[in-house]
Symmetry: C2
Subunit: 210 residues, 2 copies
Protein backbone atom coordinates (compact mmCIF):
# COMPACT_ATOMS: atom_id res chain seq x y z
CA UNK A 1 0.00 0.00 0.00
CA UNK A 2 1.99 2.99 -1.23
CA UNK A 3 -1.05 5.10 -2.18
CA UNK A 4 -2.10 7.55 0.48
CA UNK A 5 -5.63 7.08 1.79
CA UNK A 6 -8.10 9.33 -0.05
CA UNK A 7 -9.00 12.48 1.86
CA UNK A 8 -12.04 12.07 4.07
CA UNK A 9 -13.87 14.76 2.09
CA UNK A 10 -13.56 12.78 -1.18
CA UNK A 11 -14.79 9.61 0.53
CA UNK A 12 -17.76 11.46 1.96
CA UNK A 13 -18.60 12.93 -1.44
CA UNK A 14 -18.48 9.50 -3.09
CA UNK A 15 -20.72 8.05 -0.39
CA UNK A 16 -23.17 10.93 -0.80
CA UNK A 17 -23.32 10.41 -4.59
CA UNK A 18 -23.96 6.71 -4.07
CA UNK A 19 -26.68 7.42 -1.50
CA UNK A 20 -28.43 9.87 -3.83
CA UNK A 21 -28.28 7.43 -6.77
CA UNK A 22 -29.65 4.57 -4.71
CA UNK A 23 -32.39 6.75 -3.18
CA UNK A 24 -33.53 7.70 -6.68
CA UNK A 25 -33.42 4.03 -7.75
CA UNK A 26 -35.44 3.05 -4.68
CA UNK A 27 -38.08 5.68 -5.44
CA UNK A 28 -38.46 4.29 -8.98
CA UNK A 29 -38.67 0.75 -7.61
CA UNK A 30 -41.26 1.66 -4.96
CA UNK A 31 -43.40 3.46 -7.55
CA UNK A 32 -43.22 0.45 -9.86
CA UNK A 33 -44.24 -1.95 -7.11
CA UNK A 34 -47.15 0.27 -6.06
CA UNK A 35 -48.47 0.31 -9.65
CA UNK A 36 -48.80 -3.47 -9.80
CA UNK A 37 -51.90 -4.83 -8.13
CA UNK A 38 -53.12 -7.72 -10.30
CA UNK A 39 -52.64 -11.32 -9.14
CA UNK A 40 -53.16 -14.03 -11.73
CA UNK A 41 -51.90 -17.37 -12.86
CA UNK A 42 -49.28 -16.67 -15.52
CA UNK A 43 -48.63 -18.36 -18.84
CA UNK A 44 -44.83 -18.35 -19.02
CA UNK A 45 -42.68 -19.37 -22.02
CA UNK A 46 -38.95 -20.16 -21.90
CA UNK A 47 -37.55 -20.37 -25.42
CA UNK A 48 -34.41 -19.62 -27.42
CA UNK A 49 -31.24 -21.53 -28.32
CA UNK A 50 -29.46 -21.01 -24.99
CA UNK A 51 -29.29 -23.20 -21.91
CA UNK A 52 -31.58 -22.86 -18.93
CA UNK A 53 -35.07 -23.14 -20.39
CA UNK A 54 -36.06 -26.35 -18.59
CA UNK A 55 -33.68 -25.62 -15.73
CA UNK A 56 -35.36 -22.30 -14.95
CA UNK A 57 -38.77 -23.97 -15.16
CA UNK A 58 -37.67 -26.53 -12.58
CA UNK A 59 -36.23 -23.70 -10.49
CA UNK A 60 -39.68 -22.07 -10.55
CA UNK A 61 -41.20 -25.39 -9.49
CA UNK A 62 -38.77 -25.49 -6.58
CA UNK A 63 -39.71 -21.95 -5.57
CA UNK A 64 -43.42 -22.88 -5.65
CA UNK A 65 -42.70 -25.94 -3.50
CA UNK A 66 -40.85 -23.69 -1.06
CA UNK A 67 -44.04 -21.64 -0.81
CA UNK A 68 -46.06 -24.75 0.02
CA UNK A 69 -47.55 -25.09 -3.47
CA UNK A 70 -48.11 -28.25 -5.50
CA UNK A 71 -46.48 -28.79 -8.90
CA UNK A 72 -47.24 -30.90 -11.97
CA UNK A 73 -44.61 -31.74 -14.59
CA UNK A 74 -45.27 -33.26 -18.02
CA UNK A 75 -42.18 -33.94 -20.13
CA UNK A 76 -43.11 -34.08 -23.80
CA UNK A 77 -39.87 -35.13 -25.40
CA UNK A 78 -37.18 -36.08 -22.98
CA UNK A 79 -37.40 -39.40 -21.26
CA UNK A 80 -34.45 -41.29 -22.62
CA UNK A 81 -32.27 -39.65 -19.98
CA UNK A 82 -33.13 -40.18 -16.33
CA UNK A 83 -32.87 -36.61 -15.13
CA UNK A 84 -31.43 -35.37 -11.87
CA UNK A 85 -34.53 -33.20 -11.41
CA UNK A 86 -36.90 -36.17 -11.31
CA UNK A 87 -34.73 -37.70 -8.59
CA UNK A 88 -34.47 -34.45 -6.61
CA UNK A 89 -38.22 -33.76 -6.76
CA UNK A 90 -38.90 -37.15 -5.18
CA UNK A 91 -37.80 -35.47 -1.91
CA UNK A 92 -41.09 -33.56 -2.04
CA UNK A 93 -43.33 -36.65 -2.13
CA UNK A 94 -46.81 -36.07 -3.52
CA UNK A 95 -46.25 -32.32 -3.75
CA UNK A 96 -44.86 -33.08 -7.22
CA UNK A 97 -46.75 -35.06 -9.87
CA UNK A 98 -44.29 -36.07 -12.59
CA UNK A 99 -45.10 -37.58 -15.98
CA UNK A 100 -42.48 -38.35 -18.60
CA UNK A 101 -44.54 -39.04 -21.67
CA UNK A 102 -42.11 -38.57 -24.50
CA UNK A 103 -40.35 -41.66 -25.77
CA UNK A 104 -36.90 -40.10 -25.83
CA UNK A 105 -35.72 -37.36 -28.13
CA UNK A 106 -37.60 -37.21 -31.39
CA UNK A 107 -34.63 -38.21 -33.49
CA UNK A 108 -34.27 -41.35 -31.39
CA UNK A 109 -37.68 -42.76 -32.30
CA UNK A 110 -38.01 -42.01 -36.05
CA UNK A 111 -41.63 -43.06 -35.91
CA UNK A 112 -44.10 -40.26 -36.65
CA UNK A 113 -47.24 -42.19 -35.67
CA UNK A 114 -45.77 -43.25 -32.34
CA UNK A 115 -44.46 -39.72 -31.61
CA UNK A 116 -47.88 -38.18 -32.32
CA UNK A 117 -49.62 -40.73 -30.13
CA UNK A 118 -47.16 -40.09 -27.27
CA UNK A 119 -47.69 -36.32 -27.55
CA UNK A 120 -51.47 -36.75 -27.56
CA UNK A 121 -51.29 -38.94 -24.45
CA UNK A 122 -49.05 -36.35 -22.76
CA UNK A 123 -51.49 -33.55 -23.52
CA UNK A 124 -54.34 -35.63 -22.07
CA UNK A 125 -52.34 -35.68 -18.81
CA UNK A 126 -52.00 -31.90 -19.08
CA UNK A 127 -55.79 -31.54 -19.30
CA UNK A 128 -56.21 -33.72 -16.21
CA UNK A 129 -53.62 -31.74 -14.23
CA UNK A 130 -55.18 -28.44 -15.35
CA UNK A 131 -58.51 -29.65 -13.91
CA UNK A 132 -56.90 -30.63 -10.58
CA UNK A 133 -57.21 -27.50 -8.45
CA UNK A 134 -54.61 -28.73 -5.94
CA UNK A 135 -51.96 -27.96 -8.61
CA UNK A 136 -50.50 -24.41 -8.45
CA UNK A 137 -47.85 -24.63 -11.18
CA UNK A 138 -47.64 -26.82 -14.24
CA UNK A 139 -44.37 -27.34 -16.16
CA UNK A 140 -44.89 -28.45 -19.77
CA UNK A 141 -41.33 -29.37 -20.61
CA UNK A 142 -40.37 -29.30 -24.30
CA UNK A 143 -43.97 -28.77 -25.38
CA UNK A 144 -42.57 -26.29 -27.95
CA UNK A 145 -40.76 -29.16 -29.67
CA UNK A 146 -43.96 -31.20 -29.92
CA UNK A 147 -45.68 -28.15 -31.42
CA UNK A 148 -42.83 -27.48 -33.82
CA UNK A 149 -43.09 -30.99 -35.27
CA UNK A 150 -46.91 -30.65 -35.46
CA UNK A 151 -47.38 -33.56 -33.06
CA UNK A 152 -50.25 -31.54 -31.52
CA UNK A 153 -52.81 -29.09 -32.85
CA UNK A 154 -51.43 -25.61 -32.10
CA UNK A 155 -54.79 -23.80 -31.93
CA UNK A 156 -56.17 -26.41 -29.53
CA UNK A 157 -53.10 -26.24 -27.27
CA UNK A 158 -53.09 -22.41 -27.16
CA UNK A 159 -56.85 -22.28 -26.45
CA UNK A 160 -56.55 -24.89 -23.70
CA UNK A 161 -53.70 -23.04 -21.99
CA UNK A 162 -55.38 -19.65 -22.40
CA UNK A 163 -58.56 -20.97 -20.77
CA UNK A 164 -56.73 -22.28 -17.70
CA UNK A 165 -58.06 -21.76 -14.15
CA UNK A 166 -57.43 -18.12 -13.03
CA UNK A 167 -54.86 -19.06 -10.36
CA UNK A 168 -52.90 -21.67 -12.31
CA UNK A 169 -49.35 -20.84 -13.43
CA UNK A 170 -48.12 -22.71 -16.53
CA UNK A 171 -44.54 -22.79 -17.84
CA UNK A 172 -43.87 -24.02 -21.38
CA UNK A 173 -40.28 -24.75 -22.44
CA UNK A 174 -38.44 -25.52 -25.65
CA UNK A 175 -36.79 -23.82 -28.61
CA UNK A 176 -38.73 -22.14 -31.39
CA UNK A 177 -41.86 -21.21 -29.45
CA UNK A 178 -44.75 -20.66 -31.87
CA UNK A 179 -45.73 -16.99 -32.32
CA UNK A 180 -49.33 -17.87 -31.38
CA UNK A 181 -48.13 -19.20 -28.02
CA UNK A 182 -45.91 -16.15 -27.44
CA UNK A 183 -48.89 -13.91 -28.20
CA UNK A 184 -51.00 -15.73 -25.59
CA UNK A 185 -48.28 -15.69 -22.90
CA UNK A 186 -47.84 -13.25 -20.00
CA UNK A 187 -44.09 -13.69 -19.64
CA UNK A 188 -41.66 -14.79 -22.34
CA UNK A 189 -37.93 -15.21 -21.86
CA UNK A 190 -35.56 -15.97 -24.72
CA UNK A 191 -32.48 -17.81 -23.54
CA UNK A 192 -29.63 -16.68 -25.80
CA UNK A 193 -26.48 -18.69 -26.33
CA UNK A 194 -23.47 -16.46 -25.74
CA UNK A 195 -20.85 -19.15 -25.22
CA UNK A 196 -21.09 -22.92 -24.86
CA UNK A 197 -18.59 -25.38 -23.43
CA UNK A 198 -19.72 -28.10 -25.88
CA UNK A 199 -17.88 -26.10 -28.54
CA UNK A 200 -14.70 -26.63 -26.49
CA UNK A 201 -15.20 -30.42 -26.50
CA UNK A 202 -16.61 -30.64 -22.98
CA UNK A 203 -19.19 -33.40 -22.69
CA UNK A 204 -22.58 -33.45 -20.97
CA UNK A 205 -22.02 -34.08 -17.25
CA UNK A 206 -24.27 -35.47 -14.51
CA UNK A 207 -25.68 -32.72 -12.30
CA UNK A 208 -25.18 -30.11 -15.01
CA UNK A 209 -26.83 -31.27 -18.24
CA UNK A 210 -28.93 -34.11 -16.83
Amino acid sequence: MTDPAPPAAAEAAEAARHRAKMAKRKAVQDREVAGKTVEKGLLIVHTGPGKGKSTAAFGLALRMLGRGGRVGVVQFIKGAWQTGEAEAFSAFGDKVVWHTMGEGFTWETQDLVRDRAAAARAFERVRELMADDSIDLLVLDELNIALRYDYLDLADVVATLTNRRPGLHVVVTGRNAKPELVAAADLVTEMGLVKHHFAAGVKAQAGIEF
Copy 2:
Protein backbone atom coordinates in the same frame (compact mmCIF):
# COMPACT_ATOMS: atom_id res chain seq x y z
CA MET B 1 -65.24 -35.06 -40.05
CA THR B 2 -66.18 -34.35 -43.67
CA ASP B 3 -62.64 -34.73 -45.05
CA PRO B 4 -61.88 -38.16 -46.41
CA ALA B 5 -59.01 -39.98 -44.72
CA PRO B 6 -55.73 -39.48 -46.62
CA PRO B 7 -54.80 -42.39 -48.85
CA ALA B 8 -52.56 -44.93 -47.15
CA ALA B 9 -49.82 -44.22 -49.70
CA ALA B 10 -49.64 -40.51 -48.75
CA GLU B 11 -49.51 -41.40 -45.05
CA ALA B 12 -46.71 -43.87 -45.66
CA ALA B 13 -44.75 -41.29 -47.66
CA GLU B 14 -45.08 -38.70 -44.89
CA ALA B 15 -43.94 -41.21 -42.28
CA ALA B 16 -40.96 -42.16 -44.47
CA ARG B 17 -39.93 -38.51 -44.88
CA HIS B 18 -40.15 -38.00 -41.12
CA ARG B 19 -38.12 -41.15 -40.48
CA ALA B 20 -35.39 -40.04 -42.90
CA LYS B 21 -35.23 -36.53 -41.38
CA MET B 22 -35.01 -37.87 -37.84
CA ALA B 23 -32.39 -40.49 -38.80
CA LYS B 24 -30.23 -37.69 -40.24
CA ARG B 25 -30.76 -35.59 -37.10
CA LYS B 26 -29.82 -38.57 -34.91
CA ALA B 27 -26.61 -39.16 -36.89
CA VAL B 28 -25.60 -35.49 -36.36
CA GLN B 29 -26.43 -35.77 -32.65
CA ASP B 30 -24.50 -39.02 -32.19
CA ARG B 31 -21.47 -37.54 -33.96
CA GLU B 32 -21.61 -34.44 -31.75
CA VAL B 33 -21.80 -36.51 -28.56
CA ALA B 34 -18.88 -38.72 -29.64
CA GLY B 35 -16.70 -35.62 -30.19
CA LYS B 36 -17.05 -34.43 -26.60
CA THR B 37 -14.81 -36.19 -24.12
CA VAL B 38 -13.63 -33.56 -21.63
CA GLU B 39 -15.06 -33.48 -18.10
CA LYS B 40 -14.42 -30.36 -16.03
CA GLY B 41 -15.99 -28.08 -13.51
CA LEU B 42 -17.65 -25.28 -15.47
CA LEU B 43 -17.74 -21.55 -14.85
CA ILE B 44 -21.30 -20.64 -15.88
CA VAL B 45 -22.75 -17.13 -16.20
CA HIS B 46 -26.47 -16.28 -16.38
CA THR B 47 -26.93 -12.66 -17.39
CA GLY B 48 -29.24 -10.38 -19.39
CA PRO B 49 -32.38 -8.37 -18.63
CA GLY B 50 -34.83 -11.31 -18.77
CA LYS B 51 -36.19 -13.51 -16.03
CA GLY B 52 -34.73 -16.85 -15.05
CA LYS B 53 -31.11 -16.06 -14.23
CA SER B 54 -31.25 -17.01 -10.55
CA THR B 55 -34.10 -19.44 -11.15
CA ALA B 56 -32.07 -21.48 -13.65
CA ALA B 57 -29.09 -21.44 -11.25
CA PHE B 58 -31.30 -22.90 -8.52
CA GLY B 59 -32.65 -25.41 -11.04
CA LEU B 60 -29.06 -26.50 -11.69
CA ALA B 61 -28.54 -26.80 -7.93
CA LEU B 62 -31.60 -29.03 -7.75
CA ARG B 63 -30.28 -31.21 -10.59
CA MET B 64 -26.93 -31.57 -8.78
CA LEU B 65 -28.75 -32.54 -5.57
CA GLY B 66 -30.69 -35.13 -7.58
CA ARG B 67 -27.33 -36.58 -8.61
CA GLY B 68 -26.25 -36.82 -4.96
CA GLY B 69 -24.01 -33.75 -5.11
CA ARG B 70 -23.56 -31.02 -2.51
CA VAL B 71 -24.34 -27.36 -3.25
CA GLY B 72 -23.24 -24.03 -1.82
CA VAL B 73 -25.22 -20.80 -2.34
CA VAL B 74 -24.02 -17.28 -1.59
CA GLN B 75 -26.53 -14.51 -2.24
CA PHE B 76 -24.73 -11.20 -2.77
CA ILE B 77 -27.59 -8.78 -2.98
CA LYS B 78 -30.94 -10.24 -2.18
CA GLY B 79 -31.80 -10.94 1.38
CA ALA B 80 -34.63 -8.56 2.09
CA TRP B 81 -37.05 -11.10 0.65
CA GLN B 82 -37.25 -14.53 2.22
CA THR B 83 -37.13 -16.63 -0.91
CA GLY B 84 -39.09 -19.75 -1.68
CA GLU B 85 -35.87 -21.42 -2.82
CA ALA B 86 -34.22 -21.11 0.60
CA GLU B 87 -37.26 -22.78 2.15
CA ALA B 88 -37.39 -25.55 -0.48
CA PHE B 89 -33.67 -26.32 -0.22
CA SER B 90 -34.09 -26.93 3.52
CA ALA B 91 -35.65 -30.28 2.45
CA PHE B 92 -32.13 -31.36 1.48
CA GLY B 93 -30.59 -30.79 4.92
CA ASP B 94 -26.82 -30.32 4.96
CA LYS B 95 -26.57 -31.10 1.24
CA VAL B 96 -27.14 -27.36 0.75
CA VAL B 97 -25.05 -24.67 2.44
CA TRP B 98 -26.88 -21.35 2.10
CA HIS B 99 -25.53 -17.88 2.92
CA THR B 100 -27.48 -14.71 2.34
CA MET B 101 -24.87 -12.03 2.75
CA GLY B 102 -26.36 -9.04 1.02
CA GLU B 103 -28.32 -6.62 3.15
CA GLY B 104 -31.26 -6.36 0.79
CA PHE B 105 -31.30 -4.78 -2.64
CA THR B 106 -28.67 -2.14 -3.10
CA TRP B 107 -31.14 0.69 -3.46
CA GLU B 108 -32.61 -0.28 -0.07
CA THR B 109 -29.43 0.35 1.87
CA GLN B 110 -28.01 3.57 0.35
CA ASP B 111 -24.83 3.06 2.30
CA LEU B 112 -21.76 2.44 0.14
CA VAL B 113 -19.41 1.50 2.98
CA ARG B 114 -21.85 -1.01 4.42
CA ASP B 115 -22.57 -2.50 0.95
CA ARG B 116 -18.86 -2.94 0.23
CA ALA B 117 -18.25 -4.57 3.59
CA ALA B 118 -21.19 -6.96 3.05
CA ALA B 119 -19.89 -7.92 -0.42
CA ALA B 120 -16.38 -8.51 0.96
CA ARG B 121 -17.78 -10.76 3.71
CA ALA B 122 -19.83 -12.65 1.13
CA PHE B 123 -16.77 -13.23 -1.05
CA GLU B 124 -14.86 -14.52 1.99
CA ARG B 125 -17.60 -17.18 2.31
CA VAL B 126 -17.12 -17.99 -1.39
CA ARG B 127 -13.40 -18.61 -0.80
CA GLU B 128 -14.22 -20.94 2.09
CA LEU B 129 -16.79 -22.88 0.06
CA MET B 130 -14.38 -23.12 -2.89
CA ALA B 131 -11.83 -24.72 -0.57
CA ASP B 132 -14.40 -27.26 0.75
CA ASP B 133 -14.05 -30.22 -1.59
CA SER B 134 -17.38 -31.72 -0.50
CA ILE B 135 -19.07 -28.94 -2.55
CA ASP B 136 -19.80 -29.84 -6.21
CA LEU B 137 -21.66 -26.73 -7.33
CA LEU B 138 -21.50 -23.17 -6.08
CA VAL B 139 -24.20 -20.59 -6.90
CA LEU B 140 -23.00 -16.98 -6.61
CA ASP B 141 -26.33 -15.24 -6.86
CA GLU B 142 -26.27 -11.62 -8.05
CA LEU B 143 -22.48 -11.45 -7.89
CA ASN B 144 -22.67 -9.51 -11.18
CA ILE B 145 -24.51 -6.70 -9.38
CA ALA B 146 -21.81 -6.48 -6.71
CA LEU B 147 -19.20 -6.31 -9.50
CA ARG B 148 -21.16 -3.71 -11.43
CA TYR B 149 -21.22 -1.37 -8.43
CA ASP B 150 -17.50 -2.03 -7.82
CA TYR B 151 -18.22 -3.50 -4.40
CA LEU B 152 -15.52 -6.09 -5.16
CA ASP B 153 -12.27 -6.07 -7.12
CA LEU B 154 -13.09 -7.52 -10.55
CA ALA B 155 -9.61 -8.87 -11.34
CA ASP B 156 -9.42 -10.61 -7.97
CA VAL B 157 -12.87 -12.19 -8.37
CA VAL B 158 -12.16 -13.43 -11.92
CA ALA B 159 -8.77 -14.85 -10.91
CA THR B 160 -10.25 -16.60 -7.88
CA LEU B 161 -13.04 -18.19 -9.93
CA THR B 162 -10.67 -19.14 -12.77
CA ASN B 163 -8.34 -20.88 -10.31
CA ARG B 164 -11.11 -23.03 -8.82
CA ARG B 165 -10.66 -26.75 -8.11
CA PRO B 166 -10.83 -28.73 -11.40
CA GLY B 167 -14.14 -30.48 -10.57
CA LEU B 168 -16.00 -27.51 -9.07
CA HIS B 169 -18.92 -26.02 -11.05
CA VAL B 170 -19.66 -22.33 -10.35
CA VAL B 171 -22.73 -20.39 -11.52
CA VAL B 172 -22.68 -16.58 -11.39
CA THR B 173 -25.95 -14.69 -11.89
CA GLY B 174 -27.05 -11.10 -12.42
CA ARG B 175 -27.50 -8.50 -15.14
CA ASN B 176 -24.63 -6.78 -16.88
CA ALA B 177 -21.98 -9.47 -16.47
CA LYS B 178 -18.54 -7.91 -16.84
CA PRO B 179 -16.76 -8.77 -20.13
CA GLU B 180 -13.77 -10.08 -18.16
CA LEU B 181 -16.03 -12.60 -16.41
CA VAL B 182 -17.69 -13.62 -19.69
CA ALA B 183 -14.23 -14.14 -21.21
CA ALA B 184 -13.25 -16.45 -18.34
CA ALA B 185 -16.51 -18.46 -18.43
CA ASP B 186 -17.19 -21.81 -20.11
CA LEU B 187 -20.93 -21.29 -20.58
CA VAL B 188 -22.74 -17.96 -20.83
CA THR B 189 -26.49 -17.58 -21.27
CA GLU B 190 -28.13 -14.21 -21.87
CA MET B 191 -31.72 -14.17 -20.65
CA GLY B 192 -33.63 -11.85 -22.98
CA LEU B 193 -36.85 -10.14 -22.02
CA VAL B 194 -39.44 -10.76 -24.74
CA LYS B 195 -42.56 -9.95 -22.77
CA HIS B 196 -43.16 -9.23 -19.10
CA HIS B 197 -46.36 -9.34 -17.09
CA PHE B 198 -45.19 -6.47 -14.83
CA ALA B 199 -45.85 -4.22 -17.83
CA ALA B 200 -49.49 -5.36 -17.68
CA GLY B 201 -49.77 -4.36 -14.00
CA VAL B 202 -49.37 -7.87 -12.59
CA LYS B 203 -47.54 -7.82 -9.27
CA ALA B 204 -44.78 -10.08 -7.93
CA GLN B 205 -46.38 -13.25 -6.59
CA ALA B 206 -45.22 -15.84 -4.04
CA GLY B 207 -43.94 -18.99 -5.72
CA ILE B 208 -43.19 -17.13 -8.96
CA GLU B 209 -41.03 -14.07 -8.23
CA PHE B 210 -39.96 -14.98 -4.68
